[in-house]
C-alpha cells in the first residue's frame, strides 16, 4: 500500500522523500526531507537519512471529490480529529471532534460524516465534505498506515484509545424495558402498602369488667 521514492531536489544536498499511502477512495502523500543534522549517536544513522523528519507538504486525495494540501499543523489537526472520532464510532457512539475554530471538524451527519476543513488563507470558505462509512474507513486506514510507518520521523498528536466512561456509554436499548417489570412490581407494592395504611383499623373493644355473677346460697 505504501510507496517510497527518493528524488534529488535541485540545489539541495538532502534528498527529497515521499511517502504514499493509498486505499480505494483515498490517497495520502507526504513530502519532506530527512533530518541530516540528527546526532550521529543515533542507532540507525544509515536509516536516519531515509526518515521523513521535516514535512514540507502533504496532499490528500479523496477520490475525485477533493484534493487537499496543507502543512504540518493541518496534518496534526486531521489526525487529532479523525482518530478519536473513529474510536467513538467503534463504540457506536459518534462524537463530534474539533471546535469551530480548528482547521478540521468531523461530526455525524445523516448516515454519513461531515468533514469540514478551514483554510488558513483569509476569505476562503470552509470546505464541506460528506463522507460515507467506507470513505471514512479508507481515510482512517491511510492515517493508520502513516502513523505506523517507521519511515515517518514526525511527531503527531496521538493518545492511546481509551475506554468510554460509564456515563459516556450509549444506553442499551433494552435496559429501560428490562427494569420496567421489577419497577412496576415495586410501585404496586408501595401503593398497596400506602392504601393499607389509610384504611382505618377496626377499633378494638376494651374488655369491660364483668359484673359479679349472682351468688346462689347453698342450703
Amino acid at each position: 500500500m505504501t510507496n517510497f521514492s527518493l528524488g534529488a531536489l535541485g540545489g539541495l544536498s538532502a534528498a527529497k522523500l515521499k511517502l504514499q499511502f493509498e486505499e480505494s477512495s483515498c490517497r495520502l502523500e507526504l513530502t519532506g526531507l530527512p533530518d541530516v543534522s540528527a546526532s550521529p549517536s543515533d542507532a540507525s544513522t544509515a536509516t536516519a537519512g531515509q526518515r521523513l523528519s521535516i514535512l514540507t507538504g502533504w496532499e490528500l486525495n479523496l477520490g475525485q471529490r477533493a484534493a487537499l494540501q496543507g502543512k504540518l499543523e493541518h496534518l496534526q489537526a486531521l489526525v487529532a480529529a479523525v482518530q478519536p472520532y473513529v474510536r467513538h464510532l467503534v463504540s457506536n457512539h459518534p462524537c463530534p471532534q474539533g471546535d469551530p475554530n480548528s482547521p478540521v471538524c468531523l461530526e455525524p451527519r445523516g448516515r454519513g460524516h461531515r468533514l469540514q476543513l478551514r483554510s488558513s488563507q483569509a476569505n476562503t470558505k470552509p470546505l464541506d465534505l460528506q463522507l460515507d462509512d467506507a470513505e471514512l474507513a479508507d481515510l482512517t486506514q491511510c492515517l493508520d498506515q502513516m502513523l505506523q510507518d517507521p519511515r515517518l520521523g514526525i511527531t503527531l498528536p496521538l493518545a492511546a484509545p481509551q475506554p468510554l466512561r460509564r456515563r459516556e456509554q450509549p444506553r442499551r436499548k433494552g435496559a429501560a424495558t428490562g427494569w420496567a417489570a421489577p419497577a412496576a412490581a415495586l410501585g404496586a407494592l408501595l401503593i398497596t402498602a400506602g392504601l393499607a395504611m389509610v384504611i382505618p383499623l377496626p377499633e378494638r373493644k376494651r374488655p369491660t369488667a364483668k359484673p359479679p355473677a349472682p351468688t346462689t346460697s347453698q342450703r
Partner: protein, 196 residues
C-alpha cells in the same frame, strides 16, 4: 456478497501499536458487555463469510495463537464465555484468550475489508447493496437463533426488535473500523467501555 473468502492482503503478524501504552492493562477483566460484543463480532464474521469458522482456525495458526486456541474446541470454549450463549460457560477469559480473540476479530476484519467496504459504500448500486444486507441479516439471524439464548433481552433486540437492523449494522460498522493497523487498539479500548 460472495461466500468465498475475498482475496486480499493478509497480515500474518500482530501490527505494531500506534501508541506505546496499551488501551487497558491485561490484568483488568473484560466487562460482561465487552464479552458479549466480542462474540457477536465473531458471529458477524461467520455470517459475512460462509467459511468463517475455518478462516478463524487458519488465522489462529497464522497469528501464532495455537497455544491459546490449539483446536476448534478450545476456540469454541472461549467463545462460550459469552453469557448470552445457549450453552454459556461460567468464568472469565484469560488475558491470553482475550488478546487472541481481539487479534482474531481484527485480522478477519482486515481480510473481509473489501466486502465490508462494499456494504457501507454509497457508490455501490443501491439494489445490490440491499440484497447484500438482506443476505447478511438472514445469515446473522439464523446464527443467533442457533447459538444464542433467545430469551435474553439483548438477543431479542437483535433478532426481532424495531432497532434490530440498526443494531446489526452497528456490529458490522465496528468490524469496518477495527480493520487496519490501528484497529486492534480501538477494539481493545471499545470492549473495555464502562470499566473506568
Amino acid at each position: 456478497m460472495t461466500a468465498a473468502l475475498p482475496c486480499c492482503h493478509h497480515r500474518s503478524h500482530r501490527p505494531r501499536p500506534l501508541t506505546d501504552s496499551p488501551a487497558h492493562p491485561p490484568s483488568r477483566p473484560l466487562p460482561r458487555r465487552g464479552l458479549e460484543r466480542l462474540d457477536l463480532l465473531l458471529l458477524a464474521i461467520e455470517a459475512l463469510d460462509l467459511h468463517g469458522s475455518e478462516a478463524m482456525l487458519w488465522s489462529c495458526e497464522q497469528l501464532g495463537l495455537s497455544e491459546a486456541f490449539p483446536d476448534r474446541v478450545a476456540l469454541w470454549k472461549s467463545r462460550c464465555r459469552n453469557p448470552l450463549r445457549r450453552a454459556s460457560r461460567r468464568g472469565e477469559l484469560s488475558s491470553q484468550e482475550l488478546q487472541g480473540l481481539e487479534m482474531l476479530v481484527c485480522n478477519l476484519a482486515q481480510r473481509l475489508y473489501p466486502m465490508l467496504r462494499q456494504l457501507f459504500s454509497s457508490s455501490e448500486p443501491e439494489q445490490i447493496n440491499r440484497q447484500r444486507w438482506e443476505l447478511f441479516n438472514g445469515r446473522y439471524r439464523e446464527l443467533i437463533l442457533e447459538r444464542m439464548n433467545d430469551k435474553r433481552g439483548a438477543i431479542r433486540l437483535l433478532i426481532d426488535g424495531s432497532e434490530a437492523e440498526s443494531l446489526r449494522r452497528q456490529v458490522v460498522q465496528t468490524l469496518l473500523f477495527c480493520a487496519g493497523p490501528g484497529g486492534l487498539q480501538r477494539l481493545e479500548a471499545s470492549l473495555m467501555d464502562g470499566s473506568r
